[in-house]
């Protein structure tokens, strides 16, 4: 009696869990709230026509970008998901549709899981009945089919199998994390990239490797793997990855910034300058702007150019930086310094204009204060004005040591 109760309890639990899974899968699919969410969902539902195993949402190749842009326009125009689906299939074939229609040959995608489920079920029932035939008494003690309406159980299990088969077919098309019935078949490249951004260097490289296995043309992964390699001292690998990233997408600013830094450290100043000039036309994200500004990278490259006698190129680099970041006081200060060291009296006048512009933006810019003191004293011979600036400099908290050294060298600071 006890075993009979346990037996029924297991079946009931099985039924409850299965039905709840189906109900949850239907309820959990809330409709997209914005047009861009709709575009993302639609893009994830189609394969990129020229990539291996990547959806339109994941791929960065031109055709994927073009189709995504078209989906976006159509969504904004109020075209329904079904119309967009039919349109794309008519243009690129059924092969790109991850959730094909149930008619024609593509209907097999839906029919086969259900058929397989039914066949498996039929096989199980067949085996059970064979056992029952062989040993009626034993089976009747364990299963007690004769005590309950057998056909009800079979029908219920059949319905459940069909439902589950349909559910599997319906959800298995998309394999992004959380979308698939089998859970995390693989994490999406986006999830991996987020994970990599907070991982230690070695682990981050491994994650970028995984992303690049999924998306060989992922420029972000290439550029950041290159950057991580450089931080680990692998210069050649680093330049190879970053070079590939730029080749795939010449407008990706992070890769330009990374290559500029690496080239500068290797002594390839002209190449570094070229990448920085290109970067200015690409609207770099704030994180890259901050990286370059905090390390005064542009000023360092510009100084090196000036040292090599390429003053015009040095000025061009600083001017380009000012046009993309007009509130950067350090760039104005450096511009003033470059003009001052030119040795030309007219340019020295312009130098003061730049230094004053820097101080207008940031009255406590240590570079502007120090350079102004030097220009006033050494170029114009105005010791009083120079002295005032030296006093200002002395009042600064923790001024850059290179400036202290410079002022000491020029005899303006003890």
């Amino acid at each position: 009696m006890k075993s009979l109760k346990t037996h029924y309890l297991i079946w009931i639990l099985f039924l409850v869990v299965s039905v709840l899974s189906i109900v949850f899968s239907v309820v959990a699919e809330s409709p997209p709230s914005t047009n861009s969410e709709r575009v993302s969902i639609l893009a994830a539902d189609f394969a990129c026509p020229v990539c291996d195993g990547q959806s339109l949402a994941e791929s960065d190749v031109p055709v994927a970008k073009t189709i995504r842009a078209t989906i976006s326009t159509m969504v904004d125009d109020g075209v329904s998901d079904d119309e967009i689906r039919n349109y794309l299939v008519s243009k690129f074939g059924e092969d790109i549709d991850y959730n094909p229609a149930g008619d024609g040959i593509t209907g097999l995608v839906w029919v086969m899981p259900v058929t397989a489920g039914l066949l498996a079920l039929a096989g199980t029932v067949f085996i059970l009945f064979s056992w029952a035939k062989k040993d009626k008494e034993t089976i009747s003690k364990k299963i007690r089919f004769s005590d309950s309406p057998r056909w009800i159980w079979i029908s219920m299990v059949c319905l459940l199998a069909i439902g589950l088969g349909f559910f599997v077919a319906n959800t298995a098309g998309s394999r992004n994390s959380g979308d698939s019935v089998s859970g995390e078949i693989r994490m999406s490249p986006r999830t991996l990239m987020i994970k990599a951004s907070v991982a230690p260097r070695e682990e981050a490289i491994e994650i970028y490797d995984q992303v690049l296995e999924l998306q060989p043309s992922n420029v972000e992964a290439l550029a950041y793997r290159g950057w991580m390699s450089w931080l680990g001292g692998e210069v050649e690998n680093s330049l190879y990855d970053i070079g590939n990233a730029i080749e795939i997408d010449s407008s990706y600013p992070d890769a330009r910034a990374f290559r500029a830094i690496i080239n500068f450290r290797r002594g390839s100043i002209e190449e570094a300058s070229e990448d920085l000039l290109t970067l200015d036309s690409l609207e770099p994200p704030p994180v890259i702007k901050d990286l370059l500004a905090s390390s005064r990278f542009r000023e360092s490259v510009s100084s090196e150019l000036a040292k090599r006698g390429e003053l015009l190129a040095a000025l061009e680099l600083i001017d380009s930086g000012i046009s993309s970041d007009p509130e950067n006081s350090s760039l104005f200060a450096h511009r003033g310094w470059l003009l001052a060291i030119s040795g030309d009296q007219q340019l020295a006048q312009l130098s003061l204009i730049s230094l004053n512009a820097s101080l207008e933006i940031n009255p406590e810019d240590p570079y502007a204060i120090a350079y102004k003191a030097l220009v006033e004293e050494k170029v114009f011979g105005r010791s009083e004005v120079a002295e005032k600036n030296i006093e200002k400099f002395k009042a600064l908290f923790n001024p850059p040591s290179e400036l202290v050294e410079l002022l000491k060298l020029e005899g303006l600071l003890n």
């Binding site: 031109p62 055709v63 073009t66 842009a69 078209t70 243009k91 092969d95 040959i105």
Partner: protein, 180 residues
């Protein structure tokens, strides 16, 4: 017949059915070469880099070569002198109009490219994504020869040569003359 024999027979029939269907399906490569050929040409219209409006609908009665390209694609750069040469020959023959449609490219790069490399035909470079998708363009360069009646007569995947366009045009003309 025993149940196992019936099951085997059913599985065999199902397998044969699958093989026949899959074997007779149009392959991806075949589709890529012939997609749109013989069909009505999808629309092409928009502003050119010269700020003029251009539409394929206004070209009825003329042969048109619709060329999809990008300034960042090497085969497109290689085919450009061939198109220029073909276009120059058309100033005498005046048989075919060329229109270029930029694919995932920005209008300023396209304008500079045509300034530097020549090519006086209309070039659409603004919001061209929908045109490219309408034509099912997968990778550039791709070119289509559109008949005076507005049907796609030929599709060329990859870089094109002047002689190839002339041959295609000749064949397409013969074919259209043969039709009653």
């Amino acid at each position: 017949m025993s149940p196992s024999k019936i099951a085997s027979l059913l599985i065999a029939i199902f397998t044969i059915f699958l093989v026949i269907i899959l074997a007779t399906r149009e392959s991806g490569v075949e589709r890529m070469r012939t997609h749109l050929v013989g069909e009505i040409a999808p629309p092409v219209s928009g502003m050119t880099i010269e700020d003029d409006f251009w539409s394929l609908d206004n070209q009825k009665g003329r042969w048109v070569l619709v060329n999809f390209f990008s300034t960042t694609c090497i085969p497109c750069l290689e085919e450009h002198p061939e198109l220029v040469s073909f276009s120059e020959s058309q100033s005498v023959n005046n048989d075919v109009r060329i229109v270029s449609v930029a694919f995932d490219d920005d209008a300023s790069s396209v304008a500079s490219f045509f300034d530097e490399n020549g090519g006086g035909w209309p070039v659409l470079a603004y919001d061209t994504s929908r045109i490219a998708v309408d034509w099912g363009v997968i990778a550039v360069p791709e070119s289509y020869l559109v008949s005076p009646a507005g049907f796609v007569s030929a599709k060329i995947v990859g870089g094109i040569k002047r002689a190839e366009i002339e041959n295609l045009l000749l064949r397409a003309k013969r074919k259209s003359d043969e039709k009653p």
